[in-house]
Structure formats: C-alpha cells, structure tokens
C-alpha cells in the first residue's frame, strides 16, 4: 500500500472510505438526484426562459386531477394501513387452521405486478364483469343497471387488493417481535381484546405501522398502470395519467414536470418523516461517542 500513488508522503490523500462509497453515491446522484433536480428546474422553463406558465396551466387544467390523486392516495393508504393492522392482529392473536392458511397465502398479491392487477380488475369490476354477474345471478343487482366501478371505488378496490398484503407483511412482522409475555400479562390483568390491541400491540409497533403507511402512500401517488387501465380517459383521473398524456400527445415536458412536482409535494412530508425515523433508528443502533 505504501508505494501507491495516493499513499506517497506529502501527497493529498483521500480517505479510503470514499472509494467504498463512490459507486453507490455516484449511482444515486446520476440516476436519482440529477433527474429529480432537472425535472424541478425544467418545470420552471418555457422556451428556454424562466416562467411559471407550466404551473399555471397545470393548475388550470388539472386542479381536479391533483385533488383527486391526493384523495385517492390519502384514502387508500389509510384504508390499507387500517385493514393491514386488523389482519395482522388477527394473524398474531389467532392460531387456527384458517389463520395459518391465510398467513401462507396473503403474500401472493405482493408479487403480482400492477399491470396484471389492472387487467384482472378490468374484467372483475366491469359493468358486466365477474363481480356484477355474480351479484346479478344471486339477485342482488339488476344487470341492466349494474354497479359502476371504474371510478374511485374500483380504483380503491384494486389498490386495497394489491397493497393490503404489503402492509400486513410489514406490520405483522412487527407484531411478531412483541413477546407473548406482554399480551399474557395484560390478559391476566383483565385486559379485553380491544385493549390489548390499542394499548399493547399498536403502541409497541407504532413505527412499523407508520413505515407501512408511508411506503404505501408514496407507492399510490406514483402508480400509473392501474389508474390508466381502469379509469384512463375519465374525468377526473390521476396525475400520472395526465403526465403520460402531456408527454405522449403534446411532447410537453414542462407541464408534465410541473405535475411531477405536485406529486413530489404530496410525498415530501412522508419522505421527510421516513428519513428522520431511519436516522433515529440508526442513532439508537449506533450511538455516536
């Protein structure tokens, strides 16, 4: 080592960890940070000059879609987290044939890509799709006037189907870390089921529940396939569909970038929270000094 160029006495010497970090940091800078910053900068550009026209147009044409996207995201991440918690509680506290089978099965949707989910939901939720035909056969609805599900409701159903297993995976993992003795102690002190859930399980597992929610939230904001294939041309639709439309039909990257910035704004709160929590965890694991 002593005969290497950088090791020579008096020469500038880079700390060796720089070499270790370089590939990862360079990758992140080139593949993520650069496009991210560029899209932000370009959203303020029109014909090469600074302008806020892209934002004006984005708001004028798409304010309904922006609101719609935010509502879809908020509703579905809350729903997925809530149902994720309930299912995880069931898996944690109930040891039966059914729960054991479900534990083996529930992960399947995680591995199915959104495009497949979208096609599936298309034939399942269509006015004369599987669901409506089934409900029609058992006499619950009239097939001439079936449930219309290519909208907020159907989109939410698709997201729930795909994302609840994901939240369960994270939250159930957290619940499994909680020692049985806590639950037994609470039970012997006379705690009821809901008290065990609210006072023991959820507080002891708060961070993983929030992580699940944050991850699901940012996934929904960025999903294109499901809304495109389910409610593509409808009004309102999600901003990912609008971004594709701006680029494909108008080659208008300015407004597309501005819409992108709106989605950054939607996720930034959760992203900051997620990073802070990660840093807190890291400090606990490796206290400095």
């Amino acid at each position: 080592m002593s005969d290497s160029v950088i090791g020579r006495k008096g020469a500038f010497r880079l700390p060796s960890y720089v070499f270790l970090l370089f590939p990862a940091v360079a990758f992140i800078l080139i593949m993520y940070a650069y496009p991210f910053i560029l899209s932000f900068v370009k959203s303020f550009e029109l014909d090469g000059a600074f302008s806020t026209a892209n934002y004006k147009k984005a708001v004028e044409l798409y304010y309904m879609d922006i609101t719609f996207t935010f509502l879809v995201t908020l509703f579905n991440s809350t729903l997925a987290t809530l149902l994720g918690v309930l299912l995880s509680v069931y898996f944690r506290l109930n040891d039966s044939f059914i729960s054991r089978t479900l534990i083996k099965l529930y992960r399947i949707p995680i591995f199915i890509p959104f495009v497949v989910v979208a096609q599936m939901m298309n034939s399942f939720l269509a006015p004369h799709g599987i669901l409506n035909l089934f409900l029609g056969k058992i006499g619950l609805i009239d097939l001439d006037n079936p449930l219309q599900l290519f909208n907020f409701a159907g989109l939410s159903f698709g997201f729930a189907w795909k994302l609840i297993p994901f939240t369960v995976m994270i939250i159930f993992g957290g619940f499994q870390m909680i020692d049985n003795s806590y639950i037994e102690a609470a039970r012997s002190a006379g705690a009821k089921l809901h008290q065990i859930i609210i006072k023991i399980l959820i507080p002891m597992n708060g961070s993983s529940i929030l992580v699940a929610m944050v991850l699901v939230y940012s996934q929904i904001v960025g999903t294109f396939t499901l809304p495109y294939m389910l409610i593509g041309g409808k009004i309102p639709t999600t901003i990912t569909v609008d971004i594709a439309h701006r680029v494909n039909y108008y080659r208008d990257f300015g407004v597309a970038n501005a819409l992108g910035v709106f989605s950054y704004i939607m996720v930034i709160v959760t992203a900051v929270y997620y990073l802070r929590m990660n840093m807190k965890d890291a400090k606990i694991a490796h206290p400095i000094g």
């Binding site: 798409y62 495109y228 041309g233 594709a244 108008y250």
Partner: protein
C-alpha cells in the same frame, strides 16, 4: 493497489468491447416500428423472413417501441440524438411511424427523400402520402396501411344506427349509458371521436385539417362545441381504452362505441367480439390515419432499405398480408389489389364501411396545431 488498478483497466476495456456494438453486419436491415404488437409480428414473423428468402444474404432485425404516439416518439428521440451527436452512420435503416412523427422529423430534417424513386410509388395515390397534419411530406414516406375509425354497434339493440353525429347525439340522450368511449386520454379511438365531433360542430373540416390557417380566434370559438360534448358525456359510459370499448361492446355493457376498424376485424377473427357486431361511419365523417415507412437520413443500408419498402408496399404483399391477414386498409391504392385478395375478404373489409364511405367520410386528423388545441380544449372545457 497496482494489481487492482490493472484489474479495473481490464474490466473497463472488456466492457468497452462488449458495449461498443461493433460494426453492423452487412445485409441486415435494422427496422424500428411503433404501434401495437401486431406491428412487430408482421415485420418479424411475416415480411422479414419472406424478404430474406427472396434475397439471400439479407435479414431483418426488428425493434418494437410501443403503441401510440409514444412509440413514434421513441424512434424520433433516437434519430434526433444521432443527428445531434453528428454521427456519420445511423443505426436504423427503416422506421414505421405515425403521422405526428412526420411533422417532428421533417422539422428537424431527419429523413431521406426516397419515396418518389421507389418501385411502389406508382401505386400510391393516398392524399396522406402528400401531406399529413398539414405538413408537406411528399417523397419522404410511403403509407404501410391505412387505419380508419368508425362507430361499432350491436344490431341486437340498435336497429337503426344513427347515420350522423346529430342523430347519435339524440340517440345517446334516449339511451343513456349505452354509448361508450374512452375520452381523450385513454387511446386514439376516443381522440378520433372527439375530433369528428369538432368537425361536425364547426363545419370547418377544410380549414381545420387541410387549408388552415391556424388562428387563435378559431380555437376560442370551439367552446360551445365542447360544452355540448360535456352534456353529451353525461349520458356516456367511459371505457378503459381502445380495447376497453371493444370488450364492453362484446360483454353487452354498451351498444355502441368508436373503434379502429382493423382492431374490430382482428377481434372478430379471434372470436373476441360478438360476430353480429356491425360498423357505421357517421356523417360528416371520422378521422383515420396511415402509418408510414420512412428511411432515416443517414441510414447504414439505404439501398437495401428501399428494396425492403418496395417489397412491403407491393400489391402482392399489401393484398395478402396487410388486408387479408392483418385487416388493415391498404397503404397503396386499393384498385391495384384486385385479384390479389379473395373476393370474400374484400367484401368483408368493405361491407359496412364501403370504399365510397371512405372516400367521402374517411377524414384526416387536423393540422398539428389544431390537433393539440382540440385535445387541450377537451381538458379545458369538458370538466364532467
């Protein structure tokens, strides 16, 4: 340290060799196509092998960039990048592209003017080979096929299909929810329906699609047309894309909707559509579009590329493959196909939408600026 430096250098060198791409094999045509998967299928499995069998020592490497304008856009970006980096020889020999590509590529001078000396130019009579979206492209492309939109309907429920947009508007009011289309963001059959609507409401097809000029006051005058469309939409079922409209027709969810004629026939042939379903082209007409064969300006094998295009647009191939197998309208003049296509195929393709219909009501998409304005106006004025 020295050792690791040497290893790194060797790795870099070998990576360079692997990714450099090397010289292209002579006799291989590189073809890039936009469009649906059937576009890849016809080149890769049908025309490519046929051409190679007729011309020993040649071959076709086909690349697919995806459906819609987005697919053409990828080809455009590739050519633009090669042009801007001043590359002497470009990678693509033949490209198959949409109308809008022609405008982009002509603006940046990316194409070779090859068509007029091509063997098959004498069969080309389509006005789309001269101008497209108001841009003069004569000599730069040969239509591979022509695609048309029309209104498909289920005769079980629709005994007297509306013959005009005006009748359709009334029909939809009387039969709420039974007409379906995909808006303007869910695929081009919806776009085409909306464009036809504007042609009808304004009555200025010539100005909007052929002569121009592009005027802001013209665009501003469409508000009423779009507000009427917004009302119309209240009784419409939105479908999930071009395929979504056909699926919904097949499942009986809707009784009528705009479709691409070639997709209609393909669905029919594959048994995915009720065989009773029919089509009608309402007055004043709906737009259609060709896809073009083009040769990039600095293609590596321009002579071979020309030969390939001449083959692909010969009456034999146009009749047997384009019309009979893939159900498109031919890119060249239909009169040259007589005797090349079995009469029953000819009859099937031209029974609902007749050649006379196509002549009169097969419109083109508007001038590029009006096209953009029509889509944006939809987003601006159709809010429900």
């Amino acid at each position: 340290m020295r050792k690791s430096l040497i290893i790194l250098l060797v790795l870099l060198l070998s990576a360079g060799l692997v990714f450099a791409g090397g010289k292209k094999e002579a006799g291989k045509i590189v073809l890039m196509t936009a469009g649906d998967t059937n576009m890849l299928a016809i080149q890769q499995n049908v025309l490519g092998p046929q051409f190679a069998a007729k011309n020993p020592g040649t071959g076709l490497i086909s690349v697919h960039t995806g459906p819609g304008n987005a697919g053409s856009q990828r080809i455009y970006e590739k050519l633009l990048a090669e042009s801007e980096s001043n590359k002497e020889v470009w990678d693509i020999d033949v490209a198959i592209v949409h109308e809008i590509f022609m405008k982009w590529a002509m603006d940046k001078d990316l194409l070779l003017p090859f068509a007029k000396e091509n063997d098959s130019w004498k069969y080309v009579t389509s006005p789309f080979a001269k101008t497209t979206l108001g841009v003069n492209i004569e000599g730069y492309g040969i239509p591979m096929f022509h695609s048309q939109t029309a209104i498909a309907y289920n005769p079980q429920f629709v005994k007297n299909p509306p013959k005009t947009y005006a009748e359709l508007e009334k029909w939809v009011k009387d039969n709420p929810g039974k007409f379906g289309y995909n808006g303007v963001k869910g695929g081009a059959s919806g776009v085409s329906f909306v464009v036809g609507w504007v042609y009808w409401k304004t009555g200025r097809y010539e100005k909007l699609a052929v002569t121009g000029p592009v005027e802001q006051s013209e665009i501003a005058s469409w508000e009423g047309a779009y507000k009427a469309l917004e009302d119309f939409n209240q009784n419409v079922t939105y479908t999930a894309g071009n395929v979504g409209t056909l699926d919904a027709l097949n499942r009986g969810e809707i009784w009528m909707g705009p479709v691409w004629v070639d997709m209609f026939f393909t669905f029919m042939k594959e048994g995915k559509l009720n065989p009773e379903t029919r089509m009608i082209l309402p007055d004043p007409g709906m737009p259609g579009q060709p896809m073009y064969y083009v040769i990039p300006k600095k293609a590596a094998n321009p002579e071979l590329a020309k030969k390939y295009i001449a083959y692909a647009t010969s009456p034999e191939v146009q009749g047997k493959e384009i019309v009979e197998k893939f159900n498109w309208y031919p890119g060249i003049d239909g009169s040259f196909l007589e005797g090349k296509v079995p009469p029953e195929v000819y009859k099937k393709i031209y029974s609902d939408v007749t050649p006379a219909d196509l002549q009169k009501k097969g419109l083109s998409f508007p001038l590029a600026d009006y096209h953009t304005a029509m889509l944006e106006s939809y987003e601006k004025w159709v809010r429900k």
